[in-house]
């Protein structure tokens, strides 16, 4: 036996090397990057469809607060497709679950781009999650549209020419909330609980822009992977905080308010719009919700208000195309995203290309459906310029007519312009 080895091994080796070399030569064309023929249709675009994709937390710590967004967007696209789509093309929306885990986001986004060959990524949700694919999407020149996060990272046209935000940015939002707190609750001690990432960092930056550096009585952080904020809330209580700002996702807004209630600690809660949807929070808080949420302050920049014409249309679409799922701020958010994408696609012309849709957004012609204007332009990839304050009164979350936009120098100024009116039943035309 030991004699057989040395003789057979080289022969096998030679055969294997020969086979491998043959493979190398024969197949070298298989994964070679293509030159990019301009006449060729853009990936994901056919004569009658446009396929786009997204990463959303359908499971995991953020699921309960946000999984309804992509369902709402899908419902809006179903409505749009039934009304002729955009320039004769229907929109196919592929939703992948990333569990609000950056590691999963990287996998599902690669799958969408390389395997499903989507035209664009729309409304990828989350600051930590989307940050992890920002470089990848821009390296591959995939339009990365209307990210569901208010991080200012998305607004870097030089560094990330393919990425555009959707939310009003966290800095502006925090500035608006701080300004409102300064006006309404003057002299009270203000504290903050922030997520342990760019979301929290930028929110705190905005608060300090208005209230002054070091003016926050207590700055607490939490991480999404740890579902316990007793230590943080206890510290806020001990510090005598009266107005508590929250840079939290929905689940943690509810957790913070619920934990404070258990500790017998009463305070004025003010939250980022990202974690401030009262209907969603009520779902978390259960029977105690009406009591705990009364007076809760947050912001919004989308027409989520009883009696608003957009709100009415979206409720109708929700009933018809979304099996009448509970209607909340997330539903309006999801449908507004769908509307803005449809508007951009319509503006991109009859043969949409990846560069074409980016140019259309950068043209500054998009209006969206917000309460404040969009900031999109050649040197701005930020979406809504400001926010409007909402409060919960008698269990109903509604605007109070106080709206701020960024003054561009670390503060906000009141805004009294008109909201965007509903046109053509919410079906954009080019």
């Amino acid at each position: 036996m030991s004699h057989a080895r040395p003789r057979s091994a080289p022969r096998r080796t030679v055969a294997a090397v020969a086979a491998a070399s043959a493979l190398l030569v024969a197949m070298s064309a298989c994964s070679t990057p293509s030159g990019g023929d301009p006449a060729e249709a853009a990936p994901g675009v056919t004569d009658d469809t446009v396929t786009i994709g997204t990463h959303q937390p359908l499971t995991g710590p953020a699921a309960a607060g946000y999984s309804s967004i992509s369902a709402a967007t899908t419902a809006y696209f179903a409505y749009l497709n039934e009304n002729g789509g955009v320039n004769g093309r229907t929109i196919e929306y592929l939703v992948k679950d990333d569990g609000y885990n950056p590691a999963n986001t990287q996998t599902v986004v690669r799958e969408l781009v390389q395997d499903d060959e989507v035209f664009a990524i729309l409304n990828g949700l989350g600051t930590p999650t989307h940050t992890s694919v920002l470089d990848y999407l821009n390296q591959n020149e995939v339009p990365d549209l209307f990210v569901a996060s208010g991080s200012t990272n998305w607004n870097q046209p030089e560094k990330y020419p393919w990425t555009f935000g959707f939310n009003a940015d966290y800095v502006t939002e925090a500035e608006a909330l701080a300004q409102y707190a300064d006006d309404e609750f003057a002299g009270k001690s203000v504290c903050v609980l922030g997520q342990d990432d760019d979301f929290g960092d930028e929110f705190i930056e905005g608060l300090e822009n208005v209230l002054g550096e070091g003016s926050l009585a207590s700055v607490q952080r939490y991480s999404v992977s740890n579902q316990d904020v007793v230590a943080q809330i206890g510290a806020m209580q001990a510090a005598g905080c009266e107005v508590n700002m929250l840079a939290t996702v929905n689940g943690f807004t509810a957790l913070a308010i619920g934990t404070a209630a258990k500790l017998g600690y009463q305070a004025q809660w003010m939250s980022s719009s990202s974690g401030g949807d009262a209907v969603t929070l009520a779902g978390f808080l259960g029977d105690a919700a009406p009591l705990l949420l009364e007076g809760f302050v947050t912001t919004n920049y989308l027409p989520y208000a009883p009696g608003n014409e957009w709100d009415d249309l979206f409720r109708q679409i929700n009933d018809e195309y979304n099996d009448g799922a509970p209607f909340d701020g997330n539903t309006v958010f999801g449908m507004s995203v769908g509307y803005l994408f449809a508007e951009a696609l319509a503006k991109a012309g009859d043969t949409p290309t990846r560069q074409g849709i980016v140019d259309a957004i950068q043209s500054g012609d998009l209006v969206g459906n917000g309460l404040v204007p969009l900031a999109f332009g050649a040197d701005s990839h930020a979406a809504y310029k400001g926010v409007s304050i909402t409060t919960v009164a008698d269990g109903v979350q509604d605007f109070i007519g106080v709206t701020y936009v960024s003054d561009g120098s670390g503060g906000v100024e009141p805004y009294d312009g008109e909201a965007v009116p509903l046109e053509n039943d919410g079906v954009p035309t080019s």
Partner: protein
């Protein structure tokens, strides 16, 4: 479990240690160049295979190669020394953070390209090696479930650890690093995913070859001696504690290299990538593949990378309601892994490796001695606990 392990307990040590002696003897006579030639051929074949794959498949291939680094180390650790580590994901994370932090420091210093990669990889190896050494020192004093417990704590503590030191480790968001593109020379020939797969394959090749050399050499022989009967090994002058620490450190280093590759491929490292579930999957991979077998570790890596994706693709093809599909995506892979583990251990106690046709050179004569070896390798934990 106990019924199955009683027989080898009485008969195993004797036969296996003799066998180990034979094999080790035969192996040490086998010249190292042969190992290198085999490694080179397999690497060339793997790199050739990347030309057959589309970009997403190449990305998955890179993930498999990175996972293989970790499972190769783990399979030798469990198979050769009987130390069960449930925390290898944390060791991968140590490598990933070591890589990312070194890479960011180097980027700031203006270093990029190959020097940055090599130095960052060294950083990864240093971080995971150091952690592995510390753990190994504890491991040499602990046995069975106690050791598993310590390693388990490590992986559970990871998110809290990154949150506490979020100034450096950036909490749940993790650390992002600069992008390494395809080198100028190859840019017209290969896509970036294929380039990343190449790097992953090369790193895996280097580290796994090192492990194989370690296993085939005298260190491997000592490890088997310690696994089979620690007292007997000590009587023969083998320093059991030192052998165990060495095994644990070597295994950590390769896990760290795997973490570094993952960080290189995805340009980031975050605690969410190294969950308890992933850590246990690494153990599943080596058990399914066949404990102690490098080929088994590779097959196991393929299974744990590809199976969740296959299941997701399959459920996506079914016309399920959104709600049902959503519930299935998270849970079905876990269920399938459980079933697979039971089926594989029931049908082939030696793992998939044991089910593959034997290489012709083993011949009929080696079959009887093969049996106790696989059985005892498949159940090394009770052997060590009860002594």
């Amino acid at each position: 479990m106990s019924a199955g392990t009683q027989a080898p307990l009485s008969a195993g040590p004797l036969t296996t240690s003799i066998r180990a002696g034979e094999r080790g003897g035969a192996r040490s006579r086998r010249p190292t160049p042969r190992l290198l030639v085999t490694a080179l051929v397999l690497t060339v074949v793997a790199i050739g295979a990347t030309f057959l794959l589309d970009p997403y498949r190449n990305y998955q291939f890179a993930l498999i190669a990175a996972t293989f680094c970790a499972t190769a180390g783990l399979t030798l650790l469990i198979g050769l020394t009987g130390q069960l580590s449930l925390g290898h994901a944390a060791l991968m994370a140590a490598g990933g953070y070591g890589y990312a932090l070194t890479a960011n420091a180097l980027t700031e210093a203006g270093i990029d390209g190959v020097p940055r990669f090599v130095l960052s990889l060294a950083g990864a190896v240093a971080a995971s090696g150091l952690l592995g050494l510390l753990l190994g020192l504890a491991a040499a004093r602990l046995k069975g479930p106690y050791l598993s417990g310590v390693t388990l704590v490590l992986v559970i503590a990871l998110p809290a650890f990154t949150a506490v030191f979020s100034g450096v480790l950036r909490g749940d968001q993790g650390v992002q690093i600069a992008y390494d593109g395809v080198p100028e020379l190859l840019r017209t020939i290969i896509a970036v995913e294929q380039w990343q797969a190449w790097v992953a394959i090369l790193v895996a090749a280097v580290f796994v070859t090192w492990l194989a050399a370690l296993r085939n050499g005298s260190a491997g022989l000592r490890m088997r001696a310690v696994r089979d009967d620690e007292t007997a090994a000590r009587l023969q002058g083998v320093r059991a504690g030192r052998v165990k620490v060495l095994a644990f450190t070597a295994s950590s280093i390769t896990a760290g290299a795997g973490g570094a590759v993952l960080c290189f491929v995805t340009q980031s490292v975050s605690p969410g990538a190294y969950t308890l579930a992933f850590s246990l999957l690494l153990v599943v991979a080596v058990v399914i593949g066949g404990l102690g077998s490098l080929l088994g570790a590779f097959l196991g890596s393929i299974v744990i990378v590809m199976l969740p994706w296959l299941i997701q693709t399959a459920t996506g093809a079914l016309d399920l309601s959104a709600d049902a599909a959503q519930r299935l995506t998270g849970n079905l892979p876990v269920l399938v892994f459980g079933v697979l583990l039971i089926v594989v251990t029931a049908a082939w106690p030696g793992g998939i490796r044991g089910a593959l046709p034997k290489r012709p050179r083993r011949g009929a004569t080696s079959a009887p001695t093969e049996e106790p070896s696989t059985t005892s390798a498949a159940a090394p934990i009770p052997t060590t606990t009860e002594r």
